[in-house]
């Protein structure tokens, strides 16, 4: 099981978890994920949350977070906030705005530039993300195809911000919410790993209902989600 939330215990910044790690992976190389850091010989917690373990040797701290920290290769939704030289500035919810080159769109060339204006919503992948530079986005894959990325344009959609946990939960194959909803209702949804979700339904009433449902499913188990859905669609 990938998202193995090990125990109900909450760790706080400063806790040393050497002994915990040794009980699971003794003498092996371990990978430390978000919220864990190494000080000399100690593994120290730097975020408040629960400790997670992913086989074979990865540990991280899971916590409720809304601030996005860019990570290379993640799919994110951003809002264009302006232009700078050959780049669009994109607000992806991180501390720095991401850059998006005019040429990083399918079929774009020096002459055929995309025409985006501030406020437009784009879905793309982070091509560069490190702590010393501004993150850079791209809306094409390695073959130069859009592959679903690019401008998100629809009349009846809404963009809303959720916690990063919820976005990851919705995208995880274990979560049944979106597939189950899809089997009962026609809608389109784009989930960015930065917690932004774009949702498109046939009517604004449906959109509002689904938005509330998605927001409230953060702490629901699969069984509970099914109960809610059964209640809704009876």
């Amino acid at each position: 099981m990938l998202l193995n939330n090990v125990g109900e215990h909450i760790y706080l910044p400063g806790d040393v978890i050497n002994s915990k790690i040794q009980t699971v992976c003794d003498g092996e190389t371990v990978r430390l994920g978000p919220g864990l850091s190494k000080h000399n010989t100690d593994v120290t917690v730097s975020k408040a949350g629960s400790l997670c373990f992913g086989p074979p040797n990865t540990f991280w701290i899971d916590c409720h977070q809304k601030r996005y920290i860019p990570c290379k290769g993640e799919n994110v939704i951003g809002v264009i906030s302006g232009k700078q030289g050959d780049y669009y500035k994109v607000d992806i919810g991180s501390s720095d705005q991401a850059l998006l080159n005019f040429l990083s769109f399918e079929g774009a060339s020096k002459r055929n530039r995309p025409n985006l204006s501030p406020g437009d919503v784009v879905f793309g992948k982070l091509a560069i993300a490190n702590k010393h530079m501004e993150p850079e986005m791209t809306c094409v894959d390695v073959n130069g195809k859009a592959n679903g990325m690019g401008l998100v344009d629809d009349k009846y959609g809404i963009l809303f911000q959720t916690s990063l946990n919820l976005a990851r939960k919705l995208l995880s194959p274990d979560c049944i919410l979106l597939p189950e909803l899809g089997s009962r209702l026609a809608f389109e949804v784009i989930v960015g790993l930065n917690g932004k979700i774009a949702l498109f339904c046939k009517s604004s009433a449906q959109t509002i209902t689904l938005m509330k449902l998605i927001n409230e499913s953060e702490y629901l188990s699969n069984e509970q989600m099914l109960d809610v859905l059964k209640g809704m669609f009876l």
Partner: protein, 394 residues
């Protein structure tokens, strides 16, 4: 350096405007609904926290003695201070109040001081020599639109809740009695003006009560009406690019009046309940919640802050511990289920330098099951949300 405000997308903008045309709002409220109002009275006199949805404001009243103004020798004074820290929103600047802060402070001054709802003459101790100066501090704790309505409820509640120390005047000496010595006295309030903000959309044709942060960004402009439950308008202000007709203003005044009537009833109930609690010797901090809709009913948040060492934290999490989950826990190594004895270390996540402190705090964190989720129609898909109950153990 304040943070940049998140960029508003065209999707949100269009959706909100289109939904408003269908008399809908993106958070499921009706157009004249305010968000859930919650008042938490503090232990000190004149302290209260009011939340309106996610918006949260704290108010505290304090008095000091001063020499009255030359122009009004027989009156005390009321000063309103509004603090908008970066705690509320990253793009507020803590060092200066900003446009919004000044606007809120000015409207509160007009609504509370200029409407003469507080009897200032009663605050005079010796004409021309000594009087009470009442300071009302408003702290914005969390910003999700419509700070003003929230702040006006907090201001009125804390002024009503406040008790000043009793005094005896003997010749030229003024003797201030401590609370233990003599019962403190309330301030005299003639009426309770509450502000209501109405946002206008679509060339001022559509009106929304209690706009959220996003709605405030999308709106054309707003109309603020401060009105008391005698239907007397205390202050009215129009901001932004709106053209409001006479019938619209009359209609808005009616809406504001209804809301103000409801709120003054609510505040009175909160304060009488608090008095009862205090008379019974219970030191429980009291929380009251005004819910207008069945949708989104949150359980009361009971918090008790006066004995921090004896807090029993009971987190009722909507995740029911299924058998599957429980058996998984059993399989896990022992340390995973046991609570650690480490405590908080403040900072960037360096090594814990506090040593071992009692583990009773963590042991008291329980995770009981929650009753079944209720969900019926499409509009009422609301589930019970996280309920945190803090009780005193002793």
């Amino acid at each position: 350096m304040p943070l940049r405000e998140p960029t508003l997308s065209n999707l949100e903008n269009n959706f909100i405007v289109n939904a408003v045309c269908d008399n809908r709002r993106y958070d499921g409220r009706r157009i004249t609904d305010a968000r859930d109002t919650q008042i938490t009275l503090g232990l000190d006199y004149g302290c209260c926290t009011v939340s309106l949805g996610e918006t949260k404001v704290m108010a505290q009243v304090a008095v000091e003695m001063e020499r009255p103004k030359e122009s009004r020798p027989s009156e005390g004074s009321l000063h309103i201070h509004v603090e908008m820290s970066t705690l509320a929103s990253g793009n507020f600047d803590a060092s200066k109040p900003g446009e919004l802060g000044i606007e809120i402070q000015r409207i509160l001054e007009r609504s509370i001081i200029l409407s003469r709802c507080l009897d200032l003459e009663e605050l005079c101790i010796r004409v021309g020599e000594r009087s009470w100066a009442v300071h009302l501090y408003i702290h914005v704790l969390c910003y999700d639109g419509n700070i003003l309505d929230c702040a006006s409820i907090a201001a009125i509640t804390s002024l009503k809740h406040f008790r000043r120390p009793d005094i005896t005047v003997e010749g030229k000496t003024v003797l201030v009695h401590s609370i233990e010595e003599r019962n403190p006295l309330p301030l005299t309030m003639h009426h309770m003006p509450f502000c209501t903000t109405m946002a206008f959309f679509k060339d001022s044709k559509q009106l929304l009560v209690d706009p959220t942060r996003i709605e405030e960004k999308v709106m054309d402009g707003k109309l603020i009406i401060s009105i008391n439950n005698h239907k007397e308008v205390c202050c009215m202000q129009i901001c932004g690019q709106v053209h409001i007709s006479k019938p619209q203003i009359l209609h808005s005044t009616d809406v504001a009046y209804l809301k103000s009537k409801e709120l003054s009833e609510f505040v009175k109930n909160v304060l009488t309940d608090d008095l009862k609690y205090k008379q019974n010797g219970e030191k429980e901090q009291q929380v009251s919640l005004l819910c207008k809709r069945n949708l989104h009913v949150k359980e009361n948040l009971m918090c008790n802050q006066h004995k921090k060492e004896n807090l029993l934290v009971e987190i009722v999490n909507p995740i029911t511990t299924t058998e599957n989950f429980a058996s998984e826990l059993k399989k896990a190594p022992e340390w995973l289920t046991k609570h650690d004895s480490k405590t908080v270390s403040v900072g960037e996540g360096l090594i814990n330098s506090w040593g071992k402190v009692g583990s009773s705090f963590f042991k008291s964190i329980k995770k009981p099951e929650l009753p079944n989720l209720e969900s019926n129609s499409e509009d009422e898909n609301d589930s019970d949300e996280e309920i945190i109950t803090l009780n005193q153990t002793s």
